[in-house]
């Protein structure tokens, strides 16, 4: 990237909002995935106009631009694979308005999820898609990945809540999508195109989100299973039993072993633990739903079933699930977090596959996940300084994805494709679908300057169709 472009960027955002210092280039070279590449510079824009000018400049001078929120992507979405400029949206972090009457909140992309939750809570409202990284992740990032979360089984994902966006297109033009209405069927649904587009079709500068009234009560129960497939069957049955739990999470044996090694929770090292939560406005309601869940736990040979009687007990039951990432990351020095999803009926099958692959490739693959919507996170723990182990991880992942697709599943439930799964896109999407995706990208971004190199949008030799 040449000095002329850098000077032009400084002219747009001001000297104090531009950097090409070494410490920044290194910090921006990674997100939470294993991928890494240095950018040439980074800017901290604060207005839509600045972003528009930056993208216009990028098209003129042909340098890549990579939008970034908190950089917690597990798939390499925020890594500047082709260099260029990082557009750090963290300083566009205002909650512009909250309207309980219109049931919406308008935010800038840099707002941290937890800050929005805190502002909505006194109104008795919440924004349901709650990613585990909610204390750091930004809403712009949630929109880019169509983030899910623990409440996904009942409440859906980010795309179900985005009413309207303000977007700066790769050529610098600014547009609005959607509307502030609860329902609209007007024109192409461009909002849904941008949500989950991983920052490759435009830079989101304002987000209008639908918010939900927060149920005031919840009931929680945990069940242990000696047999993984019994747990899988329980999950399937619960999800078609007539009620929808607000959360249904699974924690597998490898994870339980890791938890016990690192904490004094002393959990039984069974093949699987399921944690279910039901919510509502009366105790009768939440209990009625939970009773159905408990019935199904028992029908599927749960070894033990425990219901929490108090808020503290519920928190204690959840600790196992919430401490999973922490203990997994201490098993070895590296993690490969997968994010596959399968149809509900196939949950038992995929659980078995993961367990078989761990044995076949001699790897530790602790698995937790949103069993309630079929979205699991098998997390391969390995030593990245051991080339043989790294190879086995790659082979295991590849075989895992093949099996996932065979079962009718998808490569990613909520983390996105980014760099991590780009090379498997052709397994899931047929050539016509890939061609259509590439045409859309080309139509929005003919010079391929916005977050290039992601999502298999470029063909093998780096050029675009």
């Amino acid at each position: 990237m040449d000095e002329k472009s850098k000077k032009a960027l400084i002219h747009i955002v001001g000297e104090e909002n531009f950097t090409d210092n070494l410490i920044d280039l290194i910090s921006y070279s990674k997100d939470a995935s294993g991928h890494s590449h240095r950018p040439d510079a980074a800017v901290w824009p604060t207005t839509t106009e600045q972003i528009s000018a930056i993208l216009k400049l990028a098209n003129k001078d042909r340098f890549p631009v990579v939008p970034r929120g908190a950089g917690t992507s597990l798939a390499g979405l925020a890594v500047p694979e082709k260099g260029g400029v990082i557009l750090d949206l963290g300083r566009m972090n205002k909650i512009i308005s909250v309207s309980v009457t219109d049931r919406l909140a308008v935010v800038q992309p840099g707002v941290v999820y937890a800050d929005l939750e805190r502002v909505l809570a006194p109104h008795g409202f919440f924004f349901p898609p709650d990613p585990a990284s909610g204390t750091v992740a930004t809403l712009g990032g949630n929109v880019a990945t169509n983030a899910g979360g623990i409440k996904g089984a009942k409440y859906g994902t980010t795309k179900d809540y985005v009413l309207s966006l303000q977007v700066v297109l790769p050529d610098g033009r600014v547009m609005r999508t959607g509307s502030k209405c609860m329902k609209s069927s007007s024109g192409y649904d461009l909002t849904k195109l941008f949500v989950g587009s991983e920052g490759t079709l435009g830079v989101v500068t304002e987000i209008t989100l639908k918010i939900n009234p927060k149920p005031s009560l919840s009931s929680t129960a945990m069940a242990t299973f000696e047999d993984l497939e019994d747990a899988g069957r329980a999950v399937s049955e619960i999800m078609h039993s007539g009620i929808l739990p607000s959360a249904l999470e699974i924690v597998d044996q490898q994870t339980l072993i890791a938890i016990n090694q690192n904490t004094d929770l002393n959990l039984p090292e069974v093949e699987a633990i399921l944690i279910a939560e039901t919510d509502g406005h009366t105790r009768e309601e939440t209990q009625f739903q939970l009773n159905k869940v408990i019935e199904i736990f028992k029908k599927n040979k749960a070894a033990t079933v425990k219901q929490a009687d108090t808020k503290e007990e519920a928190e204690a039951l959840w600790t196992a699930r919430k401490s999973a990432y922490a203990v997994m990351s201490r098993i070895n020095n590296s993690l490969a977090v997968e994010d596959l999803s399968v149809p509900m009926s196939k949950v038992p099958n995929i659980l078995k596959t993961i367990s078989d692959l761990a044995k076949k490739y001699d790897l530790k693959i602790p698995t937790v996940g949103h069993a309630g919507d079929g979205n699991l996170h098998p997390t391969i723990s390995f030593d990245s300084t051991n080339p043989d182990e790294v190879k086995r991880v790659e082979q295991a992942s590849a075989e895992l994805f093949e099996k996932v697709i065979e079962l009718g599943g998808t490569l990613t439930g909520e983390h996105g494709i980014g760099l991590a799964k780009a090379k498997f896109m052709h397994l899931e999407h047929d050539p016509v679908a890939m061609d259509v995706m590439r045409s859309i990208k080309k139509s929005f971004d003919p010079n391929n300057i916005l977050n290039p190199g992601k999502m298999a949008l470029e063909v093998q030799d780096g050029s675009q169709i």
Partner: protein, 367 residues
């Protein structure tokens, strides 16, 4: 590959264990007020990983982030992978100083302490109208910030000790010099020796410090081991005052800021609260309290080297005071009082005091 720097020799495993999850961004005070990832714990670990890989060497360009960390340990507390960033940073700073790469403020501080008695180079601090170096049961050790920057607060604490009829003496104290080890240097053995000699000469069996950093230094650094060997106890003033009955009360809405050096670093959370609840039953917690307390921004040498960012961090903490509507913020650390007081905006009408200072004010009013 043979490790080039000490930090790698000691902490290679930890640096590698950082999984770049970024969760530290939620709690880091420097990141919170600047929103610059290079300053965050993750950014620092990414940089150190590259140093370990040999892609870059330690050099001046890294000063801005490696020396800008308050060592508050909020990141370490929240790190899923158990990476102790502040310990690693303190070691890296020593490696940086070894290669001649250091922030001028800290280089300056090390020089100043070779020739002066405190970090400010001010050799005529307040005498607080009290005798020094006499025989007494307790030594009251003020600390540099209390002597040179928060003399009003110190005076009130001493007034309180007088009201409580504590048999204490001041000494011609010199900087405990603990801070040098945090910013890349070694403790100043001369200063350590002077302090110990003066303390021993008073015959006191207990040292009470106004500053939690000084009490940590006296209690934990091997250079001060002789104190323990001679049976001398070191307490922070909040520990000393815990069991007194002051006989005064206020109905003001009061909150408490846990200083990092008392809270996260020493695990002392309830003692100060016990004192406050006795005198101010109308008590409310800040959003980030106890182990989650938000650093005021002064520690780790940041107030000396990056004063503007330091005050910005304090300002952010004071927003939490506004949030709970407190009329008084109490703490028990002169460094916190100083930074918070500098950061307070004119439109913010709450007051900032050390607990001991506040108790003294209440007792004075009651007379």
């Amino acid at each position: 590959m043979e490790a080039k720097y000490d930090f790698e020799r000691k902490y290679r495993d930890q640096v590698l264990r950082c999984s770049n999850c970024g969760f530290c961004q939620a709690v880091c005070p420097v990141f919170g007020s600047t929103l610059r990832p290079a300053y965050n714990a993750r950014g620092k670990m990414l940089i150190l990983k590259e140093v370990m890989d040999g892609t870059i060497d330690l050099n001046d360009e890294l000063i801005e982030t490696l020396f800008q960390c308050t060592t508050c340990a909020a990141c370490a507390e929240n790190c899923p992978s158990g990476v102790n960033v502040p310990d690693i940073i303190k070691q890296v700073r020593k490696d940086m100083v070894n290669i001649g790469s250091c922030h001028p403020a800290f280089k300056g501080m090390n020089e100043v302490l070779k020739n002066h008695t405190n970090i400010y180079g001010e050799d005529e601090p307040e005498d607080f109208e009290r005798e020094r170096n006499k025989k007494a049961e307790y030594v009251y050790f003020i600390g540099c910030v209390g002597s040179c920057r928060e003399d009003e607060a110190t005076l009130e604490t001493l007034d309180l000790l007088d009201r409580l009829k504590v048999d204490y003496t001041l000494i011609d104290e010199v900087c405990c010099s603990g801070v040098l080890e945090d910013v890349g240097y070694d403790m100043n053995e001369d200063l350590v020796r002077k302090n110990m000699d003066m303390i021993l000469a008073t015959g006191a069996k207990t040292v009470i410090t106004g500053c939690p950093y000084c009490s940590r230094t006296f209690n934990n650094k091997p250079q001060y081991a002789e104190l323990k060997e001679k049976g001398i106890k070191v307490l922070h003033i909040s520990q000393f005052l815990k069991d007194f009955d002051f006989g005064v009360m206020t109905d003001k809405l009061v909150t408490y800021h846990d200083p990092c050096d008392l809270g996260r670093h020493c695990g002392i959370y309830e003692g100060p609260r016990e004192i406050i609840r006795k005198i101010a039953p109308n008590f409310v917690e800040l959003r980030h309290n106890r182990v989650d307390s938000l650093c005021c921004g002064a520690g780790g040498g940041v107030r000396g080297a990056y004063a503007k960012n330091s005050i910005a961090m304090a300002r952010r903490r004071l927003e939490e005071v506004e949030e709970v509507g407190a009329e008084v913020v109490l703490t028990e650390c002169n460094s916190c009082v100083h930074n918070l007081a500098n950061a307070k905006l004119r439109k913010q009408k709450f007051k900032i005091f050390n607990i001991s200072q506040f108790v003294n004010k209440l007792m004075e009013e009651a007379e």
